[in-house]
Amino acid sequence: MTAAQSYLEQSSPPGRTGWKAWLLTHDHKRLGLMYLWAILFWFVLAVILGLLMRTELMGMGRTIMGPEAYNSMFTLHGVIMIFLFGIPAIPSIFGNFFLPIQLGADDVFFPRLNLLSWYLFMFGGGFAVFSLFSGDGFPDTGWTFYVPFSISSAGNVSLTVTAAFILGMSSMLTGLNFVTTFHRMRDKAMGPMQIPLFTWSLYATAWVQILATPVIAITFVLVVLERFLSIGLFEPDKGGDPLLYQHLFWMYSHPAVYIIILPAMGVISEIIPAFSRKSIFGYKAIVYSSLAIAIAGSLVWAHHMYSSGMSDVSVFVFSLLTFLVAVPSAVKVFSWVSTMYKGSIAMSPPFFLSLCFIYLFTVGGLTGLVLGAAGTDIHVHDTHFVVAHFHFVMLGGTGFAFFAALHYWWPKMFGVMYRNRPAYVGAVAAAVGFVFHFVPMLILGMQGMPRRYYDYLPQYETGNFLAGFGAYLLVFGLLLMLLNLVFSLRNPRTAPANPWGGTTLEWSIPSPPPVENFTDSPNIKDFPYDFSEIVSNSNK
């Protein structure tokens, strides 16, 4: 197989050339790349916004921006990071690219619907930008759009929530496509317990995307209706109950954090065995824990509302249920660590980033227990502690897993190898910067520094200065890794089919893959993580 026959040269449907070969493609791999560039753009933009906020907080008082600008910045940072990076990143890029391949299929079940999802994603993103520069001002509500402020705010909230609505549709249709592909396109020889763990985690995620996303859709429709018609469904003086908005919002938005973290866990479950040269420990436990997280994650939404004035009974019930989520999450961490035990570890950038993931995600999970317990949550509610916890899980977890996935699958996607040294330097800088950035925020939160303020009392200055310093180091590391990857595209396409010694199906085909994925019918193993062949080959 020569490189000229790869999906990068041949279009699907065949015969399309130029821009049409990309913008009208049905190929899941090309769509994965199109998502990649769009999502990286949003990621870098939101990182810069975050860095500007931390710069503002490095000194007391007004440093580089005023309160209104700061409010708009954290709203934008949140909206972009959640709806345009976190939720789509791993499913839309790596899921689109690798889910069909890992199942032995030639494409997703609805290729044209897949293209539509991409257009919805781009359209929603464009709409979000448009909402900034039209109307009476930037939306300044935070990404949660809580009523009554989101209904009375002069900012252009209607367009921003419409953008989020469109992005939700894109995410839901991707989930729909994955579930159908999982059931109908899987190679006939592949039974349920022979499916790679990344694909299993995407399957569990897809169900959350399908069932939870419509809740936020209707909630945002109601916000827009309230802004134009003032029905009063959430307004107390008209008989409404503002707490119901929060219930509806978190009914989606809590499962949404599992949409963000579950695929990341799937990535780690692929990388850890590949570089330990050892079968994954507890395959079935990981499969079931993915499903359990998806289910339990849908039962705990009101733990975001302990201090909102809801009933004590529900504080008690939701606090109890929240602890349930910790169990399957911990099962996964134990499985990863046990996989490494007595393995033959080969260090590499994706493996190093996965180790960072395990460490940072564990801290994120444990601080989550502090917040899940109603008693301690009251003390740190709406402080920097919450912000730090959230970023430990979302950036330390999903962000690092995203970079691990980039480094793991980059040779397969583009057929090029990247330089290891900048990748390691970037990963170390990002991890150290991360700790310097968010540990001070945990402490500041315990001391009582609230979130979403552009200014603070004098006693918080040291911590904020340190956090800002860490932020710069973190961003330096992230950008170094990205630039290293992008510059590697100039290298010749000489990546071998299986550079890491992976065992799942994507490593059995050339890099980059041919347009139909498998030129011969795929060879399905009895167990997807059987390393006996890899190990015996390397011993020769």
Binding site: S12, P13, H26, D106, D107, F109, F110, P111, R112, L113, M172, G175, L176, N177, V179, T180, H183, R184, M185, I210, L211, A212, T213, P214, V215, A217, I218, T219, V221, L222, L225, L229, S230, I231, G232, L233, D237, K238, G239, G240, D241, L244, H247, L248, M251, E516
Partner: protein, 198 residues
């Protein structure tokens, strides 16, 4: 790569889409449940102001149209093109009757100064305002779905006419039918919740 025809897979996709529609309305039913719990008497009072006859008539219209849509699938499975088109045309007509009824029902209410943010509702009991707010949002969203369903049925009708939907390949008609039945399903719950509350 679209040479395969897997009608079961297509149907799975359609059902998944319907789940998202069910949950979309589900969010509104959460609101209904909570507010009904808070204002049971006022909801009953609001329900009495809605026309039970028109509501029942619309229920019958939708049920009959569901029957004819199901029959059109039976007809196409048996290769009876003419029958299938007749059933579909009748179903679209039923949809039209439903929308026209709804139009007059809304028109009468608006004429009596009952609509979101109207003076009567603003100054009246808060529970009544919520009842009619939910009434307009839910029946409005449902009406939108009726119209989308009519468009889908019309597309199916044209494709049957052109011979693109046949006894061996009718996934699109089946999926349009599923969508239409969903519209009926939602109405089956909306009808007692708004017109028959006591």
């Amino acid at each position: 790569m679209t040479t395969r025809i897997d009608a079961t897979g297509t149907r799975i996709g359609m059902w998944i889409f319907l789940y998202s529609e069910i949950i979309l309305f589900g969010g509104l039913f959460v609101l209904y449940a909570v507010y009904f719990y808070e204002y049971p008497e006022l909801f009953a009072k609001g329900g009495k102001e809605l026309n039970r006859i028109i509501g029942s008539l619309n229920t019958v219209v939708l049920l009959v149209s569901s029957f004819t849509v199901a029959s059109s699938i039976t007809a196409i499975q048996r290769g009876k093109k003419g029958q299938a088109m007749g059933f579909l045309a009748f179903s679209i007509f039923c949809g039209l009757v439903f929308v026209v009824n709804k139009y007059f029902e809304w028109g009468a209410k608006i004429h009596h100064d009952i609509y979101p943010n109207s003076a009567t509702l603003q100054d009246g009991e808060p529970g009544l305002n919520i009842f009619f707010g939910l009434y307009y949002v839910i029946t409005g969203l449902h009406g939108l779905h009726v119209i989308i369903g009519m468009v889908l049925l019309t597309v199916s009708l044209i494709l049957v006419l052109r011979g693109r939907i046949t006894a061996s390949r009718y996934a699109l008609l089946e999926n349009s039918g599923l969508y239409w039945h969903l519209v009926d399903l939602i109405w089956i719950f909306v009808f007692p919740l708004f017109y028959l509350v006591l």
